[in-house]
């Protein structure tokens, strides 16, 4: 794999812990690679696997799902939902040939900027090793059907 490959990571963070952890990393000037694009959700329990699949199908090389530590969810136990979805999603993604390292679940409290930065750094290196995902774009129908459709005998030959 070429050294120039920079993985694109989409990170889904929760409003109460992991997004603040990212903020904390910034405030404490903790260095981490700039590969992650963070999207803030109110809670990791809001994460619909659709978001992950769409990110992967539309060009991301990996997806990070980050929430509050178990037992510390602002909405009591919605981060357990994220945990269960992540485990189910991983089983499904394996059947699509997508490596488990590409979809990572991490917990980080609002004070754990350093941990959050470490999770991202680790993930970027893991995905860099795997190489680009490059999921092929969904096919679009032809706007106009070709004028001369080959007759079937020619198609078969």
């Amino acid at each position: 794999m070429s050294d120039s490959f920079e993985p694109v990571i989409i990170g889904f963070t929760c409003n109460w812990c992991s997004y603040r952890a990212a903020d904390h990393a910034g405030m404490t000037r903790t260095q981490y690679p700039p590969n992650a694009r963070l999207i803030r959700l109110m809670c990791s329990g809001r994460l619909d696997p659709t978001f992950v699949l769409k990110a992967l199908a539309d060009g991301a090389d990996g997806v990070l799902i980050a929430g509050c530590h178990p037992g510390e969810c602002h909405y009591l136990e919605q981060n357990y939902k994220a945990l269960r979805r992540h485990r189910l999603l991983q089983r499904t993604l394996a059947q699509f040939g997508i490596e488990p390292e590409r979809v990572r679940l991490a917990w980080a409290s609002a004070a754990e900027g350093v941990k959050f930065a470490a999770e991202i750094s680790e993930m970027v290196e893991e995905v860099r090793k795997l190489g680009p995902l490059n999921w092929p774009a969904r096919p679009r129908p032809l706007a106009t059907v070709p004028a001369d459709i080959p007759v079937l005998s020619e198609v078969a030959a």
Binding site: P49, L53, K54, L83, R84, R91, F96
Partner: protein, 329 residues
């Protein structure tokens, strides 16, 4: 005045859609009374060359069932798009890939290996189907299999969608009535892209079973349960049911008789990816918090992709296994 022309075609499909149309009983006679049936391989003998010779847009409406799996399927999709004013993706295969679409989890080589050298097949010479064979009497050709199954709307523009595996005959009758009314000037065509012959909600919404709090501690297959309660939600009884993410329109026929919904009407309105939404729903109601305990429950689903995407894989966000997609041009 000559009657408008009607066509029905099957691509990669099982034939169930044709049966479902015939199951509309006397509605087929009304169809014949209002349309000139110009092409319908399951019902009458018309050659492809005769369709190729038709004027463009000379068919008023074509019901196209079946997925696009072979070069021949693709050819016919292009041809019928060109010859039809209204092209309807009819049934789950044409709309979402359906059961043929599950082949997208494997490469062609794996499929051939399974089909022609699998555990129940004796094939010591490792014979495989050939797309071209030169026999002394002449050349035989067989249309090539494409790397992945595609849906009709991934190949040509589609005007309307009729979901279902197969579409319910009651719903087909509604669609045929609409077409007949349009022909007779008694109704307007719905906006392009509309889903016809289906509901605007989920199967759960139509299901008469009572729903309470869902707490799954075990997922079972139906044959593993000694008995089923006849009035309670099947998911609450530990059966994987696709009702929460599946479009309504079937009158919840399967849950009504104690069989879980398997998702044949495709993604419910507003759902981008039926399988992902089912993962959301099922994972939400698993009543465990520790990874090992969660895994024990999920072990009750040995084939998650095949379960969640049983009908909609080819039209899902990922569409196919990475290795199969890598073979696409």
């Amino acid at each position: 005045m000559s009657k408008p022309k009607f066509a029905m075609y099957w691509a990669s499909a099982c034939g169930g859609c044709e049966i479902a149309v015939l199951n509309t009983d006397e509605k087929v006679l009304e169809l014949d009374a209002n349309f000139d049936v110009a092409f319908w391989p399951a019902a009458m003998d018309v050659k492809y060359q005769e369709v190729e010779a038709m004027e463009d847009a000379s068919l008023l409406v074509t019901l196209f069932n079946g997925a696009i799996r072979t070069d021949e399927n693709e050819h016919m999709a292009h041809l019928l798009r060109r010859k039809s004013k209204i092209l309807v993706a009819f049934g789950s295969c044409a709309n979402e890939g359906c059961i043929p679409g599950l082949a997208n989890l494997s490469t062609r080589e794996d499929l051939f290996e399974r089909a022609y050298s699998g555990p129940s097949t004796e094939n010591p010479e490792h014979l495989r189907p050939q797309t071209i064979w030169r026999a002394p009497e002449g050349v035989l050709t067989l249309t090539p299999l494409q790397p992945v199954v595609r849906t009709l709307d991934q190949v040509v523009e589609v005007d309307y969608h009729v979901p279902g595996c197969p579409p319910e005959s009651r719903q087909i009758a509604v669609v045929l009535d609409l077409l007949i009314a349009v022909v007779n000037g008694a109704a307007e065509l719905p906006p392009k892209g509309a889903v016809l012959g289906a509901g605007e909600s989920t199967v759960c919404d139509e299901c008469p079973r009572s729903r309470d709090v869902k707490r799954l501690t075990k997922l079972s297959r139906i044959q593993e349960l000694p008995s089923l309660d006849t009035t309670t939600c099947l998911l609450e009884q530990g059966l994987m049911c696709s009702g929460p993410a599946t479009r309504s329109g079937c009158d919840s026929r399967c849950p009504n008789v104690g069989a879980p919904c398997i998702g044949c009407y495709g993604a419910a309105p507003g759902v981008l990816d039926q399988g992902a939404r089912l993962m959301t729903a099922i994972a939400s109601v698993v009543d465990e918090k520790e990874p090992e305990a969660i895994d024990r429950v999920l072990d009750g689903l040995p084939d998650p992709a095949g379960t969640f995407y049983r009908f909609s894989l080819a039209h899902s966000l990922l569409r196919a296994n990475r290795a199969a997609l890598a073979e696409t041009p």
